[in-house]
Symmetry: D2
């Protein structure tokens, strides 16, 4: 991880805490925990419960995507510049079952003007990568924190 100024780090943590508090979808419906946030970085964790299971007895791929997408959202909003996802892709590498603890780690690849590219790796409690996600963001008007 890159070195950040104390100020940039504090801003990232405030912005992410503010977003997470308001994010019912990630926090309550999915049961995610915010583990780490820094400028351009975020880490989220989620345990696979019976709510997450699909017809094949596996964690719904959409929820693995959702975990990665949330980590992407926290990372691309961590500089307090409001940003939204324009497009994403995911490669599913391994299935995930009830009780697995999934961690999504988002890393900024590039910011150019209003566009950003972020890579998110989702791994399980054994450290195995189960999915690789790439997201493209667009900065919009406004800030994350109230002015």
């Amino acid at each position: 991880m890159t070195a950040h100024t104390a100020e940039a780090l504090a801003l990232a943590q405030s912005a992410c805490a503010h977003m997470f508090e308001a994010d019912v979808a990630s926090r309550i419906t999915m049961g995610m925990s915010l583990m780490h946030c820094a400028p351009g970085e975020a880490q989220l964790q989620m345990t696979v419960t019976s709510n997450h299971v699909n017809g094949l007895g596996l964690c719904h791929g959409g929820f693995i995507f959702t975990l990665a997408d949330s980590a992407f959202a926290f990372a691309c909003n961590s500089r307090n510049q409001a940003s939204v996802a324009s497009g994403c892709s995911i490669e599913f590498l391994e299935a995930s079952v009830l009780g697995d603890v999934l961690t999504a780690q988002a890393t900024e690849q590039l910011v150019r003007g209003r566009a950003g590219v972020y890579d998110i790796r989702v791994s399980n409690q054994e450290g195995a990568t189960i999915a690789l996600f790439r997201g493209k963001s667009t900065a919009i008007k406004g800030t994350v924190l109230p002015v």
Copy 2:
């Protein structure tokens, strides 16, 4: 939509009904309804509730993906050949808010050996396309319906 034999249609409907019954993630956690199923096709619907909302007051993009991903899963399993997603991409075109009724329509583009490509269009109650999803499937051993 393509013409199907009565037999193929009945098999698709049985396979989808069987999957949907077991799919807690789609049916209960997300609140989806299975509207239509035919060989290579599926349509699912979901109303955006307070459970789906993220920190920006919008439907979490991960749940729009999840709706599309479920339609993809039903379509690629509709011939009773068990199949899983290997990779997916999504373009987000418009935001979605509380109360919106989202419909995902999955269409088979191509099946070649064990691989398949499916396109899913997600639209809202006004008929506006809010996301375009493309999924790539791989057939695995087994059937959807118990033998």
Copy 3:
């Protein structure tokens, strides 16, 4: 294919002819032919020659992408509004060999504000689909035809 006004069709054909004339990469280096152009649509053809072959004796996947990408460019510029690609994805389904005649057919899926999504199917002389390409465009300032 959609019905177009004679005026829109004539504009598309002028814009595409103008672009194709200037496009050394597609016309000379790759040897493509422009078969058809209409608003939101384009069809290009290319024969696989010894120039296109990679180390495995097959048409370089990059050139299959390039054929699809050119069809995408003609389709998204066919309304005389200058546009560029922001991102693309391709699924490779079948290899292509020396002498194959490849056709790329681009179809507009959606235009929303400055963004557009186009699907391109690449098939060979037997009608088999060898690749599926999806491109996202952004309109920029200016027109294709000189004012």
Copy 4:
């Protein structure tokens, strides 16, 4: 870059040299140079000439993809296990003009069974990233070097 055994490095260099020699598309038609090869890594370079220019006076996006796709191919074949691309995506970040010297650096993200995921960064002579490419490979029967 990771540390490799001398043996693995020598094998990668032999496999890449063998592929590059046979790869008319990359070596002659596109004018690429093979700069570096190691297990799971490859670096290729290409100068934008008048052959690469499209109707907008810019390097054809398909050729930027082709450069990245070649780096991907060299990286995923560098262990002498024959592999092909199954799907790729690219984000175009900046245009490239006549005379630019483009470098594609491929890095292995993951190999799992027969599947691999590789990230390729394409930069220009000023070090600016002009495109980010992600490729998914599948191992097939056979080796790169003749047995």
